[in-house]
């Protein structure tokens, strides 16, 4: 900044001139520090968070590996290309060997014997067939509280909603199934249930008594979950000993 050669330039007063910053002009940092209300809070929090980062970095014993990583080119790129070509090739192979089928044209006046969505919606389709579990109330004279179909739609919402809130139910730093046999068992329950409920949705195609299938749908998942729980609990002793020795003793979980 050379103020001397600018003094004789005319200063425009119509507000369009660019006013040179002088010593009185606040820096952006100062402007932010002077702000009020929510922006002030934001500023204060960001400052804190920046300081926290800095402190953590200072006290960390992590090794900064400056150029120790694999170079993106060629290593990573060639690996990615190879994987991508393999996957795309696999899809083309599938497409070439198992071409899709197209059924008879739509005919609104003739309901087909079997109506099915694609396989990945079977679980949802199965949840629509939970009519027998829809509670009927004695007060209502054995009437059902809501239509079977409404019940099915709600069942879908409940399942998806439960999966969505899993991170808020299961917290903590454990990651491996052996560390938390219970939650691993919940997962196994879910996987097996999604398979059995899918089988239930296509019960006309499953060569099995529909009642037996219905019972198995609700029996198999808890059994599988229980077995998973038992197995993981048994494994846990030895496993956690190692894990504690290596990891948690050095970095105790919060």
């Amino acid at each position: 900044m050379a103020p001397s050669d600018e003094t004789d330039e005319e200063v425009r007063a119509d507000g369009t001139g660019i006013v040179p910053p002088d010593d009185e002009t606040p820096t952006w940092g100062e402007r932010k520090a002077r702000s009020q209300g929510l922006s002030r809070l934001t500023y204060e929090y960001f400052e804190r968070s920046r300081r926290e980062d800095q402190d953590l970095r200072m006290e960390s014993s992590y090794v900064e590996r400056d150029v120790l990583g694999f170079p993106t080119w060629p290593h990573e790129m060639i690996r990615n290309l190879a994987i991508t070509s393999f996957f795309v090739g696999m899809m083309i192979f599938l497409a070439a060997t198992l071409p899709p089928h197209i059924g008879a044209p739509a005919n609104p006046s003739q309901t087909p014997a079997v109506i099915l969505p694609d396989w990945y919606l079977y679980w949802s389709f199965g949840l629509l067939k939970l009519g027998p579990l829809n509670p009927d109330l004695a007060i209502l004279g054995g009437q059902k509280l809501m239509a079977d179909r409404t019940y099915g739609v709600l069942a879908n919402l409940v399942v998806v909603g439960f999966i969505a809130i899993v991170p808020f139910l299961n917290k903590g730093s454990a990651r491996r199934p052996v560390e938390q046999p219970f939650w691993a068992a919940v997962g196994v329950f879910g996987v097996v249930f999604s398979i059995t409920i899918a089988a239930l949705s296509v019960k006309n195609l499953v060569p099995m008594d529909p009642h037996l299938l219905f019972d198995l749908t609700f029996l198999l998942p808890p059994v599988a979950g229980f077995i998973a729980y038992a197995v993981l609990r048994t494994m846990r002793e030895g496993y956690m000993f190692e894990l504690n020795r290596r990891y948690y003793r050095l970095r105790p979980p919060k």
Binding site: M1, D5, E6, I18, P21, V63, E64, R65, D66, T72, I83, F87, V88, M91, A95, A96, L98, P100, I102, G103, P105, A106, N107, P108, Q110, P112, I115, L116, P117, D118, Y120, L121, S124, L128, R149, T150, G152, V153, V160, I163, A164, P167, N170, K171, G172, S173, A174, R175, R176, P177, E179, Q180, W183, A184, G187, V191, E242, R246, Y247, R251
Partner: protein
């Protein structure tokens, strides 16, 4: 601050003073031209910063630092399932765009003799007359199936490695939205063939939406354009399948992967 250019901002002069190959000169000219107008340098800095943080300044990982049970990495291939979903999505997008050149979402009768609609007939055309049409449709079908399968398995991988825990809760919820979108994608595509199965699966869809408490009729009209299947159903599903869903899903996948980039892959401890 005078508005006159200072010497050290004379980029043209700086370029002349250097010995540059034509490629370098061309590149710099374009870069400077764009930078003067868009101030690219700010964004380049952000990208550079991201790159260094992500690739070169990584702290030693838990597994390295504590010499953890490296058997965990036998499961490493499962960590490719997210990328696999993305690849399948891209293949489906490309083959779908090509199919879109030949498909028309109309329920008008295709010919005087049969009951087939124009939509059905256009798929018939793709499968029997168009060069490579059958392969194209097959590829679209399979990449969609593979994507759904990969997304399901990816979700299981995330669940069983506990990768959804703090700080990744948001990405998990975003994932739930993504898997739902993927399935709606599949369902809307399934309707487009307008064959018997498609029609009656659509019928079940109408009935399902009608049985949603309170909002049922509204949802049925919004999605299916009425309480029975018609031209408007097909047209809405077409627009859903080739316009709304691609935009929304692509954006969300980008955010999802962006968050993974920012947070890093969850490591086993």
């Amino acid at each position: 601050m005078s508005l006159e250019r200072k010497d050290d901002h004379d980029h043209g002069g700086w370029m002349k003073s250097r010995e540059l190959s034509p490629v370098e000169r061309g590149y710099l000219t374009v870069l400077i031209w764009l930078d003067k107008r868009l101030r690219l340098v700010d964004y380049l800095e952000i990208l550079e910063d991201l790159y260094y943080k992500a690739n070169l300044q990584m702290p030693k990982s838990h597994t390295e630092q504590y010499n953890l049970d490296n058997k965990f990495w036998y499961w490493y291939p499962l960590y490719a399932l997210g990328s696999f979903s993305t690849i399948a999505y891209v293949v489906a997008a490309i083959s779908g765009a090509l199919l879109g050149f030949y498909y028309s979402p109309s329920t008008a009768a295709a010919g005087a003799e049969g009951s087939a609609t124009v939509a059905y007939a256009s798929i018939d055309f793709i499968m029997t007359e168009l060069n490579f049409g059958f392969l194209l449709r097959s590829l679209h079908r399979w990449s969609a199936q593979v994507m759904v399968a990969a997304v399901f398995l990816h979700m299981l991988r995330v669940y069983f490695t506990g990768a959804y825990k703090e700080p990744r809760e948001l990405n998990w919820i975003l994932g739930i939205v993504l898997i739902s979108l993927t399935m709606v994608f599949g369902y809307s595509g399934y309707i487009l063939t307008w064959d018997q199965l498609a029609f009656w699966a659509g019928q079940i869809g109408v009935e399902m939406s009608l049985s949603i408490p309170l909002a049922g009729e509204w949802v049925a009209q919004l999605l299916f354009g009425g309480f029975s299947l018609s031209q408007s159903t097909l047209q809405r599903f077409y627009i859903l399948h080739v316009f709304f869903l691609p935009f929304i899903t692509t954006t969300l996948i980008a955010i999802h992967i962006g968050i993974v980039w920012m947070q890093g892959i969850a490591e086993p401890h």
